[in-house]
Symmetry: C2
Subunit: 340 residues, 2 copies
Amino acid sequence: MLSAVSSLVEVARAAGVSVSTASRVLTGSSHPISAKTRAKVIATAEKLGYSPSALARALVSRSSRLIGVLVSDIVNPYFSVIARGIDDVASRAGYVTMLSNVDRRTSTEISRLRTMRDYRAAGVIIAGSGFEADPLAPDLAVAVGQAKEQGIQAVSLTSRDLGCPVITADNEGAAHDVTDHLLSLGHRRIAFIEGPPGMTTSKQRRDGFLACMNAANLSDVARCLPGGFDFEAGHLAAMRLIARPPLPDAILAANDEAAVGALNALRQAGIDVPGEISVAGINDLRLARFVGLTTVSLPLYEMGAMAAQHVIDALPGDATTTLLSHRVIPRETTARRPPG
Amino acid sequence: MLSAVSSLVEVARAAGVSVSTASRVLTGSSHPISAKTRAKVIATAEKLGYSPSALARALVSRSSRLIGVLVSDIVNPYFSVIARGIDDVASRAGYVTMLSNVDRRTSTEISRLRTMRDYRAAGVIIAGSGFEADPLAPDLAVAVGQAKEQGIQAVSLTSRDLGCPVITADNEGAAHDVTDHLLSLGHRRIAFIEGPPGMTTSKQRRDGFLACMNAANLSDVARCLPGGFDFEAGHLAAMRLIARPPLPDAILAANDEAAVGALNALRQAGIDVPGEISVAGINDLRLARFVGLTTVSLPLYEMGAMAAQHVIDALPGDATTTLLSHRVIPRETTARRPPG
DNA sequence: TTGTATGCGTTATCAT
DNA sequence: ATGATAACGCATACAA
């Protein structure tokens, strides 16, 4: 109340003790302190509205409680769920997350990673997927390396060659498993709406789809269509399918949003889902649950939570990969294929 | 490459200059420096992989480039759009956002606000709505006051009595205007699905609806139903309406997600929208655009962007209110009321 | 144009 | 049980 900004020195002076004593009680040190002085320090700190400088603390202790988070776009529910997982465990441990949107641009990732490094973040969690043949990938890897030398933890949430631990969903396995589910329903001619071109995650999901179709000797009726991760892409792809009959038995989209887009196109065209055709996605967003979309639940929240825990626990930074499990969630957009 | 973590001193020594010189070139100071030394310093900094400590910088300059952001839940698109607006202008100005989810709990808001203060954030943006008769509201206001004394900018994105600038959407006006749109379509008996009970934003939107109905002498056919801001709440409210015919002419939900929930319930019940009944929401989420929901576009992104700019420009912290404009977006879930 | 010295708010080491 | 004091990494006022 008295001074606008009070430092430890002021608290100490006002309490009539030394800075060290004040520091000790305010940090909850195990150092022995008389109950009386402790009380006095706490009281004056309270009265002065003392706020310990996390900056100074981090400077002297050479370690902040900041966790950097690099997402493509926080508006995308895929990333916001991850961010939520991170923040939940971070804030519970007294850490705070620095969030940055990089819009899938590796150059921006590098630049933001540097910023996180400047802030001496305890760790940086890189959530976005990489791209095939990305010319900047090595530069990012170098930046990650420098961060690690600086004692900054780095964790990637997709399989990227960054020289840091990877905690991720099994994209290929997930795509494989929904495909298998579709097959188990009797579907044979399945169309796959791909994710954004060049993106590693897109490739993994397509690979999973194709692998499953191949294993079932169905590669000749497996069909891949260019798509994307948004409503519009799914809608467009489905429109193309509708325009060239016959329709496949089922459509699998690379993610839920595209699947809902496709679903929408089909229903607008008067096509019964799942009566005439089945539709499935990947991710299990809240939206998927709501529209009753069959999908596969990815451990997005858990990936974030585990990555944050990894940073907080300062676990080894070896380039290991942790695959978190997924689960096919059958709902109302898929049904057994009608006989004939 | 040589040392894991290099400080300015090391760069200076390696470059054969004083710390101040090194500092001057690396900060891009206007202080005159010979081209030769400048080049040398830059080169060695680069070679050493020097990363300036933003912590130390903030400590000595008494001002960080951190912006704290308090949202209810980043997974909620309402907030993620705001966060995006903030981050876009923040990162463009070299600032970084610290994000925290408070789950609509005032106590958590207070605690997180303190944390932001400990980090000497340049400013804190409080995005979530308050509640009527919130016993902790005064405490929050006090915390905001302390932050301001400390030189920390505070901006609220909803009208709350926090003693700081408010940059917000005109919730009441928005609800009023969609309602008016519905009336202009010939609808009379309109049901309003409310937001979460007690929330200020809920009240404002309901007030806007009622004000418009009153002005049209239609208060006797205006009906408010308990609801919420999610799919399920909208779905449930619509189910209740369906269970007790006759249906109203139109349904306005307190936000898009609830509106889509209602839409879904109606269509599942075989009711034609907008043939038999019109449906509208508030927010204009991407989802709304996609399903063709009539709604009113709120300046969420702009609120975030403007708030961030406010912080960066260190504008006065008076308790003024800035209302950003909204716009009714007619789409396919509303239609002129059939005669008779 | 360059260098020296001080202080930012803490923690921690070493006395007392 | 308490108190000086030296870093932490940097910017800047003041000298040269």
